[in-house]
Symmetry: C2
Subunit: 453 residues, 2 copies
């Protein structure tokens, strides 16, 4: 049932486009879902995409545009005349998708497009939506909703539904407002169908609808919809008037983006990049973190250089430098990942920082003792001639694991309290810090034991 994109399919399609074979191209597109067509667009040149695009029917064309990756879409919109954008797409799109789309264009182009939209109400909705920051509930919401007054009967509602629902793909809930347009509850379609037509809405609706303010951050919205298993969430202004609704499909993207962002940050990638992005985009996202790592490495070299004489006398000390830095990094990344994910999914609960730290410390002691003892046994036989080395490495490893666990737990918690994204603390940053502190601990201990034994 699902469409699978292959090299052959694209090659065939490119041939059809080259021959300007409109009939065949339309037949091919007809079989596909807009999301599949959007996937195909990623693989085409801009002129090829344009040819196909202009053959699509308005509704489909609008859906395809909404499904495109942001950068593909912007590139594509630049290639299309303003009238086509306004007439062919905006008129067929949900207001939130249209606002997203127009929001990415220059102010001049925005105005030009808005002036070409025939339906004044739609244009007004889009202008309203453009005011909101895209990372807030206002930026996520659409204006497509069915609103009924508490004083109506089911029959009036059904009539209004036919009128209002014309432009709306799916209806999950009908929102109930009072005479001031303030949201007072919801009514499910099921309830409406199953109630007598003479019933008054006020007697059958569900009061206490969950809602969010227009300025609620997108991340919060996604946590609320996820926690309460909501398919749609109404958005209200500061005095409770119904402004729009957010649907779960928009929020699914936020959830994936947030989870991916934390992983990317932890991997030292500072912008949201895709595997298919250009070398330049990827370098811009990756090089800064590598430079942090480089600076850390230079600092680490300085730390070691303090002990140059000790190292020259006991070259074996250098053997375990990678082990110490790698373990410091691994433990720090583990600890910080647990905290960052807990913060992201809002599952930290009400446990105090102190008791969290104590538990982390408990785990670190178990892990540290296990690793240090194993290493001790191993070195005791391998480096039988150098007990100073054996004891230094194990003691240092234990100390380093404890430090890395504490730093990995505390730093993201502190950043979060300071309203800084805790994911910043993961990845190259925490690894570098742990490397340097780990080396300081190791070499100090090593030089001490070498002189002691």
């Amino acid at each position: 049932m699902q469409f699978e994109l292959t090299r052959e399919y694209i090659d065939d399609l490119k041939l059809i486009i080259e021959e300007q074979n409109e009939a065949e191209a339309i037949a091919l597109m007809d079989e596909l879902h807009p999301a599949d067509i959007a996937e195909i667009y990623d693989e085409l040149g801009i002129e090829e995409a344009k040819f196909l695009y202009l053959l699509l029917d308005g509704d489909i064309a609008a859906d395809v545009l909404a499904e495109l990756e942001d950068d593909d879409r912007d590139r594509f919109l630049k290639a299309l005349p303003v009238e086509v954008i306004a007439k062919k797409f905006i008129d067929h799109m949900d207001s939130d998708d249209a606002a997203d789309l127009i929001g990415g264009l220059s102010d001049d182009k925005q105005e030009e497009i808005l002036s070409q939209i025939e339906d004044v109400e739609t244009a007004g909705d889009i202008v309203d939506l453009l005011h909101y920051d895209e990372d807030t509930a206002g930026g996520l919401m659409g204006k497509e909703l069915v609103i009924v007054n508490e004083n109506w009967t089911v029959l009036t509602c059904l009539r209004e539904l036919s009128r209002q629902a014309e432009d709306i793909d799916e209806i999950y809930y009908v929102y109930v407002v009072d005479d001031d347009n303030k949201l007072i509850g919801t009514l499910s379609l099921k309830k409406m169908i199953l109630s007598p037509t003479s019933a008054k809405i006020i007697n059958i609706f569900e009061p206490d609808a969950m809602s969010v303010h227009t300025d609620e951050p997108a991340e919060e919205v996604s946590l609320i919809m996820e926690k309460y298993d909501l398919v749609a969430l109404p958005v209200v202004d500061s005095i409770g008037r119904l402004m729009g609704r957010i649907t779960i499909d928009d929020v699914v993207d936020v959830i994936r983006d947030e989870a991916e962002k934390d992983y990317q940050m932890a991997s030292g990638i500072s912008e949201d990049i895709e595997a298919n992005d250009s070398i330049w985009l990827q370098t811009r996202a990756r090089l800064p973190w590598l430079l942090i790592g480089l600076a850390g490495g230079i600092l680490a070299a300085m730390v070691i250089s303090i002990h140059e004489n000790g190292l020259a006398d006991n070259a074996k000390l250098a053997f375990f430098i990678p082990l110490i830095t790698a373990m410091a990094g691994n433990v720090g990344v583990q600890s910080s990942a647990i905290i960052v994910q807990g913060i992201a999914s809002n599952s930290l609960g009400i446990e105090s920082t102190f008791s969290r730290l104590m538990r982390e410390l408990g785990g670190a002691i178990i892990n540290g003792l296990t690793c240090s003892s194993l290493l001790f046994l191993c070195n005791y036989f391998f480096y039988a001639d150098s007990f100073a080395l054996t004891i230094s490495v194990s003691v240092a490893l234990f100390a380093v694991i404890i430090f890395a666990a504490i730093a990995g737990t505390l730093i993201p918690l502190m950043l979060n309290r300071m309203k800084i994204d805790p994911a910043l603390a993961t990845g190259p940053f925490i690894t570098t810090l742990n490397d340097i502190v780990g080396l300081l601990i190791y070499l100090a201990i090593g030089v001490y034991f070498y002189s002691a034994f």
Copy 2:
């Protein structure tokens, strides 16, 4: 509008429970959403939770149970008598939640509970669902759906709806089947409401409903629902008969879990653990990866020991060991994260491995040249007396960055082709490999240049 859990709230509640003040406890619970009550349960002792739980009304109690974390739920179910589980919860739950719940219990307890369920149809649905692997479409689906025959009229449908919909919280679609119960399409409630009651379903339904087989992996299901913005997805058996439906709220959890899992794997955490899990659980998930890192460190020590004499003569070579291993790790983690995320979100497209590798190589050359040149400049002044060191470190850094980028790209792609989870390649595993190869390259180059200059 949203509930915020605080230390004070829990303390007050614990007091109320201690006093066995049922009236006050019921009043408090009445204000809360089941998801909030579930959150509170995480903070209570088992006896406290039980006291509260038995006060809840059946529907709410069932919803709370469905919202609990898996381990809390299992612990809790053990504390409750079988009759209570069957009568109070299962009867009020959706079949998919009930199957999830029972699936976690021992076979004996499963049978005992099933035999106590009054409604034979419900018990049958649950038994059916227990057959499916929980990570497949069959394991995700519920049996609550509204099914209509293609030959019915809208009026018959509306009547059937009232009958079938009784146990169903929300209806998003009505599924249309033929006489063999094979899925042939969907009908939106909106369409049903807006059509004349005498209309035949066959004339107004949407054919070609997207569906999945019962054995489709959960991850695939989530990608399909995400890509096509679906709120519900019907599940069919191998001959196309309608077996159940998956709703988006179940899939949202899969999406978050998958994204979190990849991040956890990359951070060296092998089980799905939460920040609040016990020391023991956390250690079990973390220690194995640390042991891999430990083994890698011991191997690295052996690699360095090959060059013990070179190091004793030129102790400065040791200074840059952390820089080389850290950079190898950073680049490898970046490259693999991009591939792993691309695979997880199914956004790799049709680009060939070769062209992907070429692009990665291009980026690695830019990053490598930048980092190596900067390091060269820096060392040229800092270590003016040792040109051999300056040139070795920079040349080695460049080589190491190139290697790490290639390994980080190829290994997850290869694992994926071999049907092994590519996320395995990220984290401690790839870091360790890159450390060792990086050291081999660095020390070989270093010793060569020291003898050359």
